[in-house]
């Protein structure tokens, strides 16, 4: 390992020679203030725990109904996948695909790939095809929009309450916790260190 690292700011291209960054601190670009990288605290253990919790919550969140409504004796319940199916059968396959990817598929793949990378690293092993999977992770990460979906649920609930009775499903609580677990998971995942590890084979 190098004691000093030469790094270029990804937002303004200025070169920095960086020594050891203490745990919990970040290196900041002196010209534009961009975070060059952060040295995360207990990154491996924390992200592994949060990823496992996230996967569990994700399964609960998608297995049970999200919301139920009641209006004059009629009853309807749905989970997120139900919404995707309705859009698809209504002829809006583009939107169905977009919602499927941003709210279900990509967040799920993000959790799976993180587990696949972090678990062997915890056991001091190098995951098979690590570079390809890291590349894939970087590609899908900006398109996972779980937290935006949560806001969508809140807006829908308020809209629906004006017209009918709304009963929150089990999965709503799981979703709510999942948002925080995923945010904490992103914050503890040390991309810089993992790329460094992936580099020295």
């Amino acid at each position: 390992m190098h004691n000093e690292l030469l790094i270029a700011c990804h937002e303004c291209d200025v070169l920095h020679r960086i020594g050891r960054v203490p745990e919990g601190d970040s290196a900041i670009c002196r010209r534009c203030g961009a975070v060059l990288f952060s040295h995360k605290k207990d990154s491996l253990d924390r992200s592994l725990a949060l990823t496992l919790a996230g996967l569990l919550l994700f399964i609960i969140a998608n297995a049970y109904p999200l919301l139920e409504i009641k209006l004059e004796g009629l009853y309807q319940a749905t989970n997120l996948f139900g919404g995707v199916k309705v859009l698809y059968s209504g002829g809006y396959w583009e939107i169905a695909l977009l919602v499927l990817c941003t709210a279900i598929l990509f967040p799920f793949l993000e959790l799976l790939i993180k587990l696949y990378i972090l678990l062997p690293m915890k056991l001091n092993r190098r995951p098979w095809k690590m570079i390809s999977l890291l590349n894939f992770l970087e590609t899908i990460k900006p398109w996972g929009m779980m937290e935006v979906f949560m806001l969508g649920i809140l807006v829908s609930v308020v809209k629906l309450l004006k017209m009918m009775t709304v009963i929150p499903g089990h999965s709503l609580y799981a979703f709510f916790v999942l948002i925080f677990v995923m945010a904490a998971g992103t914050a503890s995942f040390d991309t810089h260190e993992i790329w460094e590890k992936a580099g020295d084979s």
């Binding site: 270029a8 990804h10 303004c12 291209d13 919404g83 939107i95 977009l98 829908s156 308020v158």
Partner: protein, 213 residues
């Protein structure tokens, strides 16, 4: 300013990988592909190739789709035999009138204000970079960070429509469907996100160095 003393990767015959941030020494310079990153395999360029042209194309496409997204109904509600289409704006007005001003605010900000703000800021950044303006690079970089961070929140209305369409299926009593504007609106969101991704913020700073050559 101390800018003159700062060395950049570009003027030191180096280039950073956009994906894994590895800094590589390079023999030639320019926007075209120089090498593949020895660590992650992504193509390495000093600046994103064709960044300005591609960002322009995506912004203009987003602007075009923004028109049908706002004029056509984004959702269709049918109740007891009669059906009614709502545009984004008529939805906002309905919620103001019925007293849910906070819902109106969320939808207005996410669906109308944020896409317009993104398009305007990208226009401004593109023009300022093309004219090699040296005005407040730090503030312009901050504008870029803002549009990068807020773009995803425009998806909120698409998610609301998905949930409403799945739930309000009560036969003749009440039925909710996505409208034709939904697909155009989704396109606006995706195109503006892609536009922000293809814009290279390092171009803002390049004109700061050109003077000292």
């Amino acid at each position: 300013m101390i800018v003159t003393e700062l060395k950049t990767a570009k003027n030191s015959s180096m280039a950073a990988c956009r994906r894994c941030h590895l800094l590589c020494r390079i023999s030639e310079s320019g926007d075209r592909k120089i090498i593949d990153c020895p660590r992650c395999g992504a193509e390495i360029h000093q600046r994103i190739p064709g960044s300005i042209q591609r960002t322009w194309a995506l912004v203009i496409a987003a602007l075009i789709f923004y028109i049908p997204a706002n004029l056509l109904p984004i959702s269709i509600t049918s109740a007891l035999g009669s059906s009614e289409g709502d545009t984004i704006m008529s939805g906002v007005i309905y919620f103001i009138q019925s007293g849910s001003w906070y819902i109106a605010l969320v939808i207005f900000v996410a669906s109308i204000f944020v896409p317009v703000l993104k398009i305007l800021i990208l226009f401004f950044l593109l023009v300022s970079v093309q004219l090699k303006i040296r005005w407040r690079p730090l503030e312009r970089t901050r504008l870029y960070r803002i549009i990068e961070a807020i773009g995803r929140w425009s998806m909120v209305d698409i998610f609301v429509i998905t949930i409403m369409a799945a739930l309000i299926k009560l036969g003749g009593l009440a039925d909710f469907e996505a409208g034709p504007a939904a697909a155009y609106f989704a396109a606006v969101v995706v195109l503006t996100i892609l536009a922000a991704m293809s814009f290279d913020p390092r171009l803002i700073w390049d004109s700061m160095e050109d003077q000292h050559e």
